[in-house]
Symmetry: C2
Subunit: 477 residues, 2 copies
Amino acid sequence: MLKALKKKQKRKEKDLSGLFNPESVAVIGASHSELKLGGVVLKNLLRLKRRIRIFPVNPKFPRLMGIKAYPSVEGIKGKIDLAIIIRPAPETPSILEALTGKASCALVVSAGFAEAGQAGLQDEVLRTARKGGIILMGPNCMGVYNATTGLDTFILPPERLPRPRAGGTAIVTQSGAVLSLLFEGMAKTDMGVSITAHYGNAADIDESDIYEYLENDAGTEAVICYLESVRDGRRFIKRAKALSEKKPLIILKAGKGAAGQAAAFSHTGRLAGAYEVFHSVLAQYGIFEACDFEDLMDGALALSTQWKDLKHKNKNRNKNKKTSKGNRVLVLTNGGGAGVLASDECTRQGFEQPEIPPANLENFRKIFPPFYGMGNPFDLTAQGSDRDYLYILRELGDGLSFFDGFIIIALTAVTGITPALAGMLADFKKRTGRPMVLHTGQDEAGRELGREARKAGIPSFDTPERAVRALGHLLSW
Amino acid sequence: MLKALKKKQKRKEKDLSGLFNPESVAVIGASHSELKLGGVVLKNLLRLKRRIRIFPVNPKFPRLMGIKAYPSVEGIKGKIDLAIIIRPAPETPSILEALTGKASCALVVSAGFAEAGQAGLQDEVLRTARKGGIILMGPNCMGVYNATTGLDTFILPPERLPRPRAGGTAIVTQSGAVLSLLFEGMAKTDMGVSITAHYGNAADIDESDIYEYLENDAGTEAVICYLESVRDGRRFIKRAKALSEKKPLIILKAGKGAAGQAAAFSHTGRLAGAYEVFHSVLAQYGIFEACDFEDLMDGALALSTQWKDLKHKNKNRNKNKKTSKGNRVLVLTNGGGAGVLASDECTRQGFEQPEIPPANLENFRKIFPPFYGMGNPFDLTAQGSDRDYLYILRELGDGLSFFDGFIIIALTAVTGITPALAGMLADFKKRTGRPMVLHTGQDEAGRELGREARKAGIPSFDTPERAVRALGHLLSW
């Protein structure tokens, strides 16, 4: 039995379907009370959208939350795709021993391993799991939230950690705190999540394994990853490269400086490694890198909404290296100062802002009032209206070879700008396939325009500079 | 009469009280309809909290919005502190001529001057105003919002451009678009505004004049400034330095690169100048500089909430140059990953993160569970509670000489963190006078904690990195 499992594991590398899509789940340390972690997890599992077998394990109760409970792992008959272990760290090896031959994947929620100086205990856990042919996630992790199926192993109830809606963006994170920030950030811009994996200390399964699974996960269109450390650099590069050739992968590498690296070690017990090496590898293989948390969220929003449009124009791109498809941008604004700030950020990003082509300019001079600033930024002033934006983009449609990307600034404090602008912008973008980002105000009208734009596939940002930086990610796809 | 006015102007430099605090206001181009700019301005003025004399000028109506209207400027008897001109650009010189001898300040709202290639017309307007002894704001500007008195010359109604609450932070901006972004940003963090000045093309009054006024404005405690260009560098430095010795002044200089400079010119018709010179001058005189819009808002929030606490410790600071008071910070977190991200930003900012002093560490080891990460970041893990933060800060209170500033990260997705933490943090900060910033989640509990913290004088930020960058401003005060 053991041999067969091992063989199976070898043949298929690590088959993570038991982890992300189990048919049967055991909860070792399940509880009757939602005040306890084992109760939260059980309750979350009972919320599943489709019926799977659930085996709560607790020697004190014959039933838990309305279903049969088991006094020990030994009492469970049948196969366990996923065993969730919510017991004190020192008990973990013996639990894994008991799971041998029964379980194919185990999720160790408890902390108190390498991150707390108990590297020996973590090694023992890994050895026991390997010996038992059990794929291990964690320890020190929250595990999996699969928004498509509703599978939810988190130790936090939705009231404390609201889950984002189901959608196409996967999250791979070493940190639970960052996971909660990511969820909040996604909810704010109505991004949808496919699979979320918080893999903690990564004794066995690490980011590379999860990348490999996501590569072929039909529900995942883009991947956000928060990383502190990489164990097997060669494998990481191979898997990250393979994944990012199929769908955009954006990585925030934390633990860059000495202080951050020390913090990362005490956090997950893994060495963060030299950041410079990591950075140059990502750049070499065209994998997106975020410089901080905000850039991660903004980049993910831009990439998840527009990568499909961009894909077709890049059909023939070099498979080994994503080269920039151009850096010439147009800033089209109805606020002078916002246009200047966007231009400053364009300069910092190394973008060019070419002049409006003379033929187009001649036409613009005929129909627009003389106080419009017809340079780049093109400043419609507070008099600008929806149809001005549309007219300019349509007119430039013929001379599209002049611009690689578009930064639209539409402040709603003035009259003339309505939520209908979102649809107009989206039409243009769909027709041309050029990346486009929006900056609008945070007043009520601005928020509505931003929402409409995001729905239509134009990511919207709170400041001019953030919009420009997000465009930077799109231009490098 | 003319001579007398000129003499008065010379004696008192520019007396801007007529602009910011007028007893009588004429609106040239007033309208009966709020669909017209002249109607919006009149309506805004009628909302004033105290009675002042208002003279609407419009040849077509004997009364406007319930008060007597005047067919022309000539018909107005008595002194006009402030004349607001909302007529097409070419009419402005003759209106200013008619105002000569009657008005002490004029606000030219209309665009169509230097920013639109009509430098000659702008010169004529300036000459006419100077000849008439009239202090001129604009052209191409929205003018003044004095939240304390309610004076409001803006051409946008509050429904489209909600005004922030009254408070202690002044806004000086060359751009109306940026003004609307600033208002939205202030409302988001409940910052209060004292005086807002949008001075547009700055033909006469410029940032230096406004700085001089704000220096002695009792209601203003901190100043946010968005600048594209400076005309008289020497005077700017003198006034900025004088202002920033009394209250924090944070400046966002836009038009940094070639594209931004061109945009700035077409926006206000003034040359933006070499950014590097500007930057080094600000640094030399210890005037705060923001690197982008978000940094401007975050820095302003930090400085406006904490500068008074910081002031006392800096009583003896060098008046000519604000030197950094230290760069040793403690990151105290209940989220490992968030602590790592904060540490990375600390490294980028050049902060040090010293180890916990051994005597304190010994005490912490006695009372905290072994899985707490007792380094810097100090990681309370998801088990951390309000009282843990309090205990650590109190304990370190004796060894305060080890840390110059505190970055508190308190994520609310876990139990143990409550809004009561805000008060505890504020008590510590008040007692020690050390700068402190907070990063918390954006879930409901996090937003409440953030609000409570801001009320108690601890600025709260949406991402770990933004909190660290904001602390950077406080540490350089």
